[in-house]
């Protein structure tokens, strides 16, 4: 029976000892990727994969990524909501991997809302 090999597991463990310090403290930013049927069909998974990569690279302890279901705006999927503490949540529409990277680097890390991709403030 093939499994992830022990070497694989060890490697993961070694490479991540730095990052294993539990993510403590309150989140300053919450990023929600809407992953209902509509979102998934429209391409939410590559968006989420790109976000995971950016998160791994940024190595920030105060950012949380969550998924949620359909929010009823299926025609503008994939949607991503970015909530920065003490500012209005922004819903982004028609996201793809590149847009996600831009939103992460500019809005999440630098605080510049990317209004070109925005659907609405909530």
């Amino acid at each position: 029976m093939a499994k992830l090999t022990i070497e694989d597991l060890k490697r993961i463990k070694e490479q991540t000892t730095k990052a294993t310090a539990l993510r403590q403290g309150d989140a300053r930013v919450r990023i929600t990727v809407h992953m209902g049927t509509c979102g998934i069909a429209a391409g939410a998974r590559p968006v989420m994969s790109a976000l995971m990569e950016e998160m791994a690279e940024a190595d920030r302890q105060d950012i949380r990524v969550v998924t949620s279901g359909c929010m009823g705006m299926c025609s503008s999927e994939p949607n991503v909501t970015v909530e920065v503490l003490d500012t209005e949540p922004i819903v982004y529409q028609h996201m793809d991997a590149n847009r996600m990277r831009q939103v992460f680097r500019r809005h999440v890390l630098l605080g510049e809302v990317q209004s070109d991709f925005a659907l609405a403030k909530i």
Binding site: M1, A2, K3, L4, I6, D8, L9, R11, I12, K13, Q15, T16, K18, A19, T20, L22, R23, M35, G36, T37, C38, I40, A41, R45, P46, M48, S49, M52, E53, M55, A56, D59, V65, V66, T67, G69, G72
Partner: protein, 197 residues
């Protein structure tokens, strides 16, 4: 959906919404019988019987926010157009099992696609839920069990993005090995032949 792994992600998200703490996904392929079976089993809150009877009807849904639910209807349509079907077994309080079958070589059967991405994000996004993935292909198989993983990687947080991306890569490599092991000289010839066309 373009990939069966996206259907799997969709059904697994339903399982999570149903409050499951263990989700088992199995993909079984047989080239000899020319069948492919995908099943997703959870220990969530299940569904009442009248919902299951009309499960392929998009206007039957357990959600209360809207009256339309497309996930299982789309999977049913995908299976039916490949000489397959879906079956749903569920009871309130006893979890749900969704099984979809396909004729493996059917021209309309979508590829399984990036299963590692589906698993990686399910595991990363739901650290308190355990996932089991079993992929069988002509007598060989690959198994992933996050309960074992958590035991082996004591103290490592699977929801950490760095851990999750390494994990996704390992799964991707293992699944590639599984599929590559199956490409006999005959299928290689076939692929070459198609490329020449």
């Amino acid at each position: 959906m373009r990939e069966l792994s996206l259907h799997i992600l969709d059904v697994a998200e339903n399982a999570l919404t149903a409050g499951a703490c263990l989700v088992s996904i199995e993909v079984a392929e047989s080239t000899e019988e020319d069948r492919m079976r995908i099943s997703i089993r959870d220990n969530g809150r299940g569904m009442p019987e009248e919902k299951i009877r009309n499960i392929e009807d998009p206007f039957v849904t357990t959600r209360t926010t809207r009256r339309v639910g497309l996930g299982l209807s789309l999977l049913a349509a995908a299976a039916r157009r490949c000489e397959g079907a879906i079956a749903v077994n569920a009871a309130p309080g006893r979890g749900t099992e969704v099984t979809a079958t396909f004729r493996r070589s059917h021209i309309d059967r979508a590829p399984l696609g990036d299963m590692a991405a589906t698993l990686g994000m399910l595991i990363m996004g739901n650290p308190h839920v355990d996932f089991v993935y079993i992929h069988r292909l002509d007598g060989r198989d690959f198994t992933l069990d996050t309960r074992e993983l958590k035991r082996e990687l004591e103290g490592v947080d699977l929801s950490d993005p760095v851990v999750a991306s390494h994990l996704t890569e390992s799964i991707r490599r293992s699944l590639q090995e599984l599929t590559a092991g199956g490409s006999t000289s005959r299928t290689r010839e076939k692929e070459n032949g198609q490329a020449d066309d």
